[in-house]
Each structure stands twice: as structure tokens, then as C-alpha cells.
């Protein structure tokens, strides 16, 4: 499975363009998501990070510009690759067990039972949930639920993994553990990943590249490469390089967040 890159070429999205009050969610976004790398999108609330993710996934169509998917080494554009999303609200099916949740996508695709069970069990083991297969989501802690969400996405062997503020609903300690676990999983899977986050720290720990977005209408304000050595962990936060990056991104974000707050857009999401 060759790694896939995604290019946004002058992509914009305007909701209700012909109405009296059109909302410009994204404007002239040109950026690239490199194959096999983790790219973090960071920006003030309501800047269109999640919209950009939905466009990538194909759930929203841009009103301007276009996307290009390329398989590494192939050169030509390809159709939309296999993608899976990990959601901030987990979005697990409450009437299904952990195992059934993880096997859900394979089941829909008609994967033979033996293979389905084997892959689901392997994905559950990868997120350290072996032994919890027959539990229901409500019987799990928030961190465990999101690990199920992660297993449910990874079991599909996506070429592109979309992470929509995956740790936004978790407490700080759980988030740290999951960030390290996710970093490990993504490093080994070779999938292209897009991480939407509010946390500068999370972006630096997980990403190879960080795209800083402006307040609405969302544009790319800066592209920052994270050259810190892997594997990264909490120890990385004490690296002097980490502090430099953090300050730089914070500087960029502060202006945008202030701008968003002044225009009242920060409350809209």
C-alpha cells in the first residue's frame, strides 16, 4: 500500500453563497499533506479546520478550487483513497460491543468472518483493549472509548487517517497517554494522517508538519516543519527545540485568536 499525498489547490467553501449572508468557511487554501506523514491543523475555534477535514473526506464539496490525491511513486492523480476518521465525540455505536464496533466497517464491506474477526482482534490488541471485547461503550472510560474509536478506524487499514480533535473530550492525563500511543501507532502504520487540534503541545508531539490557520475565513497562515527526533514523548516537551516551536506557534495563534474574539466568531463553534 503506497502512501498517499493530498494537495489542496486554492480550495474555498462558502455556505449559502447566494443568500444575503453567505458564510465563507474556507478561502483559497493551498497546502499539501505529505505521504506517510502526520500533518496537524491548528487554529482558532471556527476557523474551518473541521470543514477542511470534511472536504478531504468527501462529506463536503468545495465551492472553489480542487483536491488532488497522489499515490507515492505513481505520479498521476488517483481517486479518493481509503480514509477513516477518529471523532472528538467518539461516535461509538452504543448498542454494539467493543468487538462489534471495531468489526463494523469490515462487516459492512462484506469481509469474510474469519478474516474480519482476526483483523478486529488485532486492532483491539494494538490499542491495548484485549479482554474488553464484549463490553459496551458505556461501560468504558473516555480514554478507553477513544481507543475503541482509534481501533475502529485503523482496522480499515486507511491510506489516510483523519483525526478530528480526537483527544478534545478527554482529561489531561488520559490525553498524554493516548498521544504517546497514537504517535507510536501512526509511526508504524505508514498512513498519511491529518490531525485537527486545539493543543499546540499535541500538534508538536504528533506532527511532522503543522499548518497554522487564520480566523474565519480560514486560510493557511504558516507551514511549520517539526524536526524534533522521534519517538517523541513527554520528555520531548523539555527539549529546547520544543519551546522554540511552541513560542512561534503561540505567537501566530494569539493574533488570530484575538482577531476571532473581536469579531465574535470564536463563539460560533
Amino acid at each position: 500500500m503506497p502512501a498517499v499525498s493530498i494537495e489542496f489547490d486554492d480550495v474555498g467553501l462558502t455556505f449559502a453563497p447566494s443568500s444575503a449572508t453567505p458564510t465563507v468557511a474556507l478561502e483559497a487554501v493551498t497546502c499539501a499533506f505529505e505521504p506517510g506523514e502526520v500533518t496537524a491543523l491548528i487554529g482558532p475555534s471556527g476557523c474551518g479546520k473541521s470543514t477542511l477535514l470534511q472536504i478531504t473526506r468527501g462529506f463536503l464539496d468545495p465551492t472553489q478550487g480542487r483536491l488532488r490525491f497522489t499515490a507515492l511513486g505513481a505520479g498521476n492523480a488517483i481517486a479518493r483513497p481509503a480514509m477513516s476518521t477518529v471523532w472528538q465525540a467518539f461516535n461509538l455505536f452504543p448498542w454494539l460491543t467493543v468487538f462489534e464496533n471495531v468489526a463494523f466497517g469490515l462487516d459492512l464491506a462484506g469481509v469474510p468472518h474469519a478474516e474480519r474477526d482476526m483483523r478486529a482482534r488485532r486492532a483491539i490488541a494494538a490499542v491495548d483493549l484485549t479482554g474488553f471485547e464484549s463490553r459496551y461503550p458505556r461501560q468504558l472510560s473516555g480514554g478507553m472509548r477513544q481507543r475503541v474509536g482509534l481501533a475502529r478506524a485503523l482496522v480499515m487499514e486507511p491510506e489516510v487517517l483523519l483525526l478530528d480533535e480526537p483527544f478534545g473530550a478527554l482529561d489531561a492525563q488520559t490525553r498524554l497517554v493516548l498521544q504517546e500511543q497514537l504517535a507510536r501507532l501512526v509511526e508504524t502504520s505508514g498512513t498519511t494522517a491529518i490531525l485537527v487540534t486545539h493543543s499546540i503541545e499535541e500538534a508538536i508531539l504528533l506532527a511532522d508538519t503543522i499548518l497554522v490557520m487564520t480566523a474565519r475565513p480560514g486560510r493557511i497562515a504558516a507551514t511549520i516543519a517539526v524536526a524534533l527526533p522521534r519517538p517523541r514523548s513527554m520528555a520531548t516537551t523539555r527539549d529546547p527545540g520544543f519551546a522554540t516551536l511552541f513560542d512561534r506557534i503561540y505567537g501566530l495563534l494569539r493574533d488570530e485568536v484575538m482577531r476571532a474574539m473581536m469579531s465574535g466568531e470564536g463563539q460560533s463553534q
Binding site: 477513516s84 454494539l96 463494523f104
Partner: protein, 270 residues
């Protein structure tokens, strides 16, 4: 200085240390029924109430045994149960499918809203004369009346349940490659099941009422017919016997629904 317990305290403090049978809801429930029966029996004997007005529980038991043994009450019960559950089963299948369709199609919803608004508040019992004109008084009539009793609450609750499905779950299913049909069958329907079941509870109750009422009007067999006939010939013990069978039927249906609810509650979000 002694502190008086707050008014409305659930249980006296000593209940925590010593067990009293009066703390068991089942003992309280059954015990109070048995107590009422004993008082009834004793009072009826003491004051010499005529069995024409109020037969004693012992006389009713005798009537029950006789009716079940040789009086054909089994046939009546079977006929009534068949009429209730056959019509109800058709209503369950049709109502769920119809509800799914209405909840997911803008046009179907616009049309159905009008019909439901017009027909739902109509007391279904008023349809009995019209249904008799159309269908006669046989099996099809009984099926129709049971069906009509159950279908509205089931449709309405299915629509409600599907509309309240978390949109995040639909997105997650789409993300995992679900087709619109798969979303309907594997996300919208299961997420609506608790609500559908609330409709089943209401609908089955209405079906029971309507079938027994219809039997009283036109039936030759069935619990309602038996009840009406016994009343006509002043067989008060038989009237009570049929009422008891209906009450027991009600208890069994309610308890079965509670059991299904407990199973459904397994995954319900707290």
C-alpha cells in the same frame, strides 16, 4: 435532644439493620392483594351481600375453575389473544417500516404529518361501526381493529426515535463505508429501538382495549363476548372471572415488556 426524622424519609433508620418483609416490594404488592381478598370474603359473608351484586372471591374461583374446565373459557382466551397479537404483529412490522420511511424522507413526512394529525386523536373505537360495514364482524374486522389500535403509537414513536438518532453516529457509519440502506438498517433502526418499544407498550395496550370492546359489541367468542353475555344473564361470578383473566393478562403483558426493556437497557447510554 432527639432529632426527629425529616418528613418523607424513605425508610425508617432501623430498616438498615433488621430485615423486615415489609421492605420487600413483592411482599407488599402480593400481600396487599391477598389482604383485600380476605377482607372481601369475610365482609361479604358477615353482611350477607347477594352474590348477584358482589360474589365472594371463593365463588369467583369456583366460576373460574368451571369456566376453564368445561365452560370454554380457553377457547375465548385463545380467540382474544389471537386477535390482539395478530393485528398487533402486523402493526409492528408495518408501523416500524412506515416510521423509518417517514423519518428519512422529507416528502413522506410532509404527507404523513397531515394524516397522523387527523387520525391519531380520533378515538379508534368510533371506527367500529364503519369497519363493520366494510369488513363484517369476522376475523378481518378483528385484525383491523387491533391493527388500528397499535399502528399509530408505533409509527409516531419510530419517527421520534429515528429523528433523535445522534448525527455523529450516521457520520461515523458513512465514514466506515455504509450505504444509505446500511445506515437505515444498522444505525437508524437500532438507535430507535428504545423509542419503538415505548410505542409498542402504548400500542399493545390500545389493541387489547379495542379487541375486547369490539368483542363486546359483535363477538360470539372471545373474552369480551363472554363478559357481555355473562352480564346479560346476571352471571356476576362469570363477569368477575373474565375480569380477573383480563387483569392477569395485563400483568403478564406488562411484566414481559419490563423484561424486554431490561434487555434493551443493556446498552442504553446512562
Amino acid at each position: 435532644m432527639s432529632v426527629s426524622p425529616l418528613p418523607g424519609d424513605a425508610a425508617p433508620p432501623r430498616a438498615k439493620t433488621t430485615y423486615s418483609p415489609l421492605d420487600d416490594p413483592r411482599v407488599l404488592g402480593w400481600g396487599s392483594i391477598i389482604l383485600v381478598l380476605i377482607v372481601w370474603e369475610v365482609a361479604a359473608r358477615l353482611f350477607g351481600v347477594s352474590a348477584l351484586y358482589l360474589p365472594r372471591p371463593s365463588q369467583i374461583v369456583v366460576a373460574l375453575v368451571t369456566l376453564f374446565g368445561s365452560g370454554g373459557l380457553v377457547v375465548d382466551l385463545g380467540a382474544t389473544l389471537w386477535r390482539i397479537f395478530a393485528g398487533f404483529a402486523i402493526a409492528l412490522v408495518c408501523g416500524t417500516l412506515l416510521g423509518l420511511w417517514i423519518a428519512t424522507s422529507f416528502r413522506a413526512r410532509a404527507v404523513a404529518d397531515m394524516f397522523i394529525a387527523a387520525l391519531y386523536p380520533l378515538p379508534k373505537i368510533t371506527l367500529i361501526p364503519l369497519l363493520i360495514i366494510w369488513l363484517g364482524t369476522g376475523g378481518p374486522f378483528m385484525l383491523a381493529i387491533s391493527f388500528l389500535g397499535a399502528i399509530f403509537p408505533i409509527v409516531i414513536n419510530t419517527v421520534l426515535g429515528v429523528s433523535q438518532c445522534d448525527p455523529g453516529l450516521v457520520l461515523a457509519a458513512r465514514d466506515l463505508g455504509a450505504t444509505p440502506q446500511q445506515i437505515m438498517r444498522r444505525v437508524l433502526l437500532p438507535s430507535a429501538i428504545p423509542s419503538i418499544f415505548a410505542g409498542v407498550r402504548l400500542g399493545l395496550g390500545v389493541s387489547i382495549i379495542l379487541v375486547v370492546a369490539a368483542e363486546m359489541v359483535v363477538g360470539k367468542v372471545g373474552l369480551g363476548a363472554r363478559l357481555y353475555l355473562a352480564g346479560q344473564i346476571l352471571e356476576t361470578e362469570q363477569v368477575f372471572a373474565v375480569l380477573i383473566v383480563l387483569a392477569v393478562l395485563g400483568i403478564i403483558v406488562t411484566k414481559l415488556q419490563d423484561a424486554v426493556d431490561a434487555v434493551l437497557g443493556n446498552w442504553r447510554v446512562d
